[in-house]
């Protein structure tokens, strides 16, 4: 048998597939045995490569760093589900009101009680402010991940992509509802957010540095994070909206 190659010696060390007769050859050939011993000793040395020690409370430290992330994950998940439910309720309320109004416009009745059509609208206004706040918080966290990433490097956006996909549907419903309610500021911000959310949701799992830089430019150019924070702050502390044409909208 000819001398063993380095590959055969390494395979023998790891007990990977190797030609028959290797152990016997090593027993008979001093040169090959010396080569094998060198490889074995090198690999044993590497096995002793130091790993920095972590203290006994390392797990607790990790948990403390993780806790808020897991909490926001749970809130986001719950918020998304309840957001969808509220959005669905808003949509039903809006279309019911719209249908009711259309029906009465065909046959105007002067004595129609104003409270009937005003009720869904007032409710939807309040609900809209409530749910848009949560929606904007979730959207902000997605945008922050992208905006704060290093534009020189690729970015893994698997989670953001999934979250953006969830946010697109609710964003659309809130925008339509805000438009119908005459809340143009919220509608405008949501309209600005929509194409960016769609772009993130349609991206691959990894953004190249060029794609990332392009997306960051768009977020910055439209001042999206600033707008989101302003509206988010307003929705968390809403003041009664002066709506001079509210009465004129009633039938």
């Amino acid at each position: 048998m000819p001398h063993l190659t380095e590959e055969q010696l390494v395979s023998h060390y790891y007990q990977d597939d190797e030609p028959k007769g290797v152990p016997e050859h090593l027993g008979a050939c001093a040169d090959c045995f010396a080569q094998y011993e060198t490889i074995r000793r090198v690999l044993m040395l590497v096995a002793e490569a130091p790993v920095p020690e972590r203290s006994d409370d390392y797990g607790t430290q990790i948990w403390n760093r993780l806790r808020w992330k897991l909490g926001s994950d749970r809130r986001r998940k719950a918020g998304w589900i309840s957001g969808l439910a509220v959005a669905a309720a808003l949509a039903v309320a809006f279309f019911a009101g719209h249908f009711w109004r259309a029906k009465h416009e065909v046959v105007p009745i002067a004595t129609t009680p104003p409270s009937v059509t005003a009720l869904p609208r007032d409710h939807s206004d309040r609900i809209l402010l409530l749910v848009v706040g949560d929606h904007l918080d979730s959207t902000e966290s997605v945008l922050l991940e992208v905006a704060n990433a290093d534009p020189q490097k690729n970015l893994d956006i698997e989670n953001e992509r999934r979250r953006a996909g969830e946010l697109v549907a609710t964003n659309r419903i809130y925008r339509q509802t805000a438009t119908q309610n005459g809340n143009e500021r919220i509608a405008s911000v949501l309209a600005d957010l929509e194409p960016v959310l769609i772009e993130i949701s349609h991206a691959g799992t990894t953004l190249s540095s060029n794609e990332l830089a392009e997306l960051q430019k768009r977020i910055e150019a439209k001042g999206l994070l600033f707008k989101v924070r302003v509206i988010s702050a307003e929705t968390s502390n809403p003041t009664p909206r002066k709506d001079n044409d509210r009465e004129s909208n009633r039938i």
Binding site: L45, V46, E48, A49, T60, I62, W63, R65
Partner: protein
Amino acid sequence: MELTDLAAVSRARGGDADAFRTLVERHSRAIFRVAYRMTGNEHDADDVVQETFLRAYRQIDRFEERANFGTWVHRIAINCSLDLLRSRGRHEKHRVNDSEDGEMIREFESTDPQPDRLLLSAELQQHVVSALDRLSGNERTAFMLRHFEGMPVEEIGRTLGIQVNAAKHTIFRAVRKLRESLEPFVRSTPCRT
């Protein structure tokens, strides 16, 4: 009575944060060791540990009860480490200056290189770290998976998205580079028993 991993997973699935905390506290140090060996950097390893448990939490419904949680989370850690290495483009990065290497080798050549004695040497440990840092990202990963994790070559190929032969040769290249760097410290007359 101590909560088993399986019971903790079951409770964590039901939204019990303390149960998941138990899993984090129990496995963090082991995951750090894997992450450090894969990334070669403490801060990166800390990031990998966090990301690993975040992913584990998000995917906990996918955990199969017949599996071992430690093994499962271990595998997530390897994937997180790979993602981090890929995103940082370390694949072709060599961090050690060759001339410094040469000086260190000469410095150690005059010593009596008995492995068990040398293992006590902090300088030698540093040299091993440097030798590992000279490996490319793929070489380091393939080697670590084979050497420390005992992963079969076929699985290493799948993990790295390369053919089995390519995986095998990546490991060979890694061992050759390590041998080139470290052979001066282990060279001695073979002793048959």
